[in-house]
């Protein structure tokens, strides 16, 4: 663990700029991928007028959001109503600080770990900050003072608490053989052995399903289920405040993809290739971006392929299938680690 008390502030600023730039770039690109991807799956053209392949469309969307009228319902609980969209962005932008994006860089006479916050408890820090995301949905639902919003908020909180257990347990199963919560150690372990997805395939499936539920994406988008709740927790939001929830969803997807890729697919590393120095750092970042891109494409693919769960099915899947599976996986991994197989 590096010394947290005296980080080089310039290093931290540069690393922050890299990762924030990454997440902020991913959001508009993902909006485009989502719209074109859904069109591809549904056999229609999708947005194709602005720029080549409609690539400028997200920019036009953003301009539209900025210039739209921002409406606050007169019956809304104003402070909470205004606070919720800000909180939507917070967890995604804070969790990426523990994601490593390259090998330790030896430059300027010091060794720089390519992770913004080299914290010993990295994995737990990610999970704890990610668990704060539910507040944005709950406060949006309560603050709007609208029945549909409130129902969406209640669904959101029940769903996110249920699936967080399975998510956390599947992540802990990765931590056991590595015996460290520090994510660069997890990457180093996978460089030495194989990618965790091979020995921990059950844990990975649980993680994948739970991360769809945690980001409120189809087939788990019950908090906003437009066929029954209008738009769920964000029914009353318009203009940039709505866009903030929208961005929050994509940013959370990015952050969770970063975690999943780091835990199960070797993070920034490539198998059989060991690069160091500046080339290693740049290649590491590009590899991470590519892997996250594939993970995000899976998010889009799944969203436009599966229908929505019914609420009782959602709860049954979470508590009676995923949670026991995650516990069994944890026990199996612990036993295998004890036996020296991992």
């Amino acid at each position: 663990m590096a010394d947290l008390a005296s980080p080089n502030l310039l290093d931290v600023a540069v690393k922050l700029a890299v990762m924030l730039g990454f997440v902020l770039t991913v959001v508009p690109v993902m909006v485009w991928v989502e719209r074109r991807g859904s069109a591809l799956i549904q056999d229609r053209p999708g947005p194709n007028r602005l720029g080549p392949f409609g690539l400028i469309q997200p920019l036009a969307d953003a301009l539209k959001f900025i210039f739209k009228e921002d409406v606050t319902p007169s019956a809304a609980d104003k402070p909470l109503y205004l606070l919720a969209p800000i909180l939507a962005l917070l967890p995604a932008f804070t969790t990426i600080v523990v994601i490593p994006f390259g090998p330790t860089l030896e430059a300027f006479g010091r060794s720089i770990p390519l992770v913004i916050a080299p914290a010993e408890t990295g994995v737990l820090m990610f999970l704890s900050l990610a668990s704060l995301g539910v507040y944005s949905l709950v406060l949006a639902g309560y603050g709007s003072n609208n029945k549909f919003s409130l129902l969406g908020a209640i669904r959101a909180s029940a769903q996110m608490i249920s699936y967080e257990l399975a998510l956390t347990l599947s992540v802990l199963a990765v931590v056991i053989p590595v015996s460290s919560f520090y994510l660069p150690d997890v990457v180093a372990y996978q460089q030495k052995h194989v990618w965790n997805v091979i020995p921990q395939i059950i844990g990975f499936v649980v993680f994948l399903i739970a991360s769809f539920a945690e980001t409120n994406r189809l087939p788990f988008d019950l908090p906003e289920a437009e066929s029954e709740l209008v738009a769920g927790f964000h029914t009353e939001y318009s203009a940039m405040r709505f866009a903030s929830f929208f961005m929050g969803e994509y940013a959370s997807m990015t952050a969770l993809s970063c975690l999943g890729v780091t835990l199960y697919f070797g993070g920034w590393s490539l198998p059989f290739v060991h690069l160091t120095g500046w080339i290693g750092a740049i290649v590491g970042l590009l590899v991470l971006v590519a892997k996250v891109g594939i993970a995000m494409a899976v998010f889009v693919w799944v969203r436009w392929t599966f229908p929505r769960f019914r609420y009782d099915q959602l709860m049954r899947l979470g508590w009676k299938v995923l949670l026991p599976l995650a516990i069994l996986n944890l026990l199996a991994v612990a036993a295998m680690t004890l036996a020296g197989w991992l």
Partner: protein, 184 residues
Amino acid sequence: METLTFLVFAALALGSALVVVSHKNPVYSTISLVVTLFSVAVLFVMLGAPFVGVLQVLIYTGAIVILFLFVIMLLNLQPRSRDESPFAGQGLQLAGAVIGGLILWFLIFFAFSNSRFAALKPLTAEMVSLKTLARDLFTEYLLPFEIVGLLLLVAVIGATVVARKVPQADSTVAYQKPPEGSEP
């Protein structure tokens, strides 16, 4: 820098704790509780116990307080005005706060004036590391640890029993209309 961070988060913790107990709207109290717990977690991290701080956020702010909020929203509690307080008046509330604070102060005072505590040294980073914590929990403090686990299990079973729907005799009868002229 460190003093400034401490002052900011200590002030946040105290201020939001005051809001928790004094705000009329239970939703605002709960949100303030989140701020309190988060600020205390930051203080834990600054004291060199990042594991405790992270667990505090993960368990308390991420899970328990959200359940509070869940229940409050389901019950649809209305903000309560000052004069319909369950206590007789503000004087009594103030007296309660003062007496509670005094008791707490005495407890802390006697705990620290005890000679056993005076001989203790500050914890080192080694002693609060994850490895030491885990080893101590599963060796020296195994029995208390298991008892706490059992206690939580009992609480879960208790909650399930309380929340279970008791099949009521008349609710089933309501759907089955007894045939005419077949009075028992």
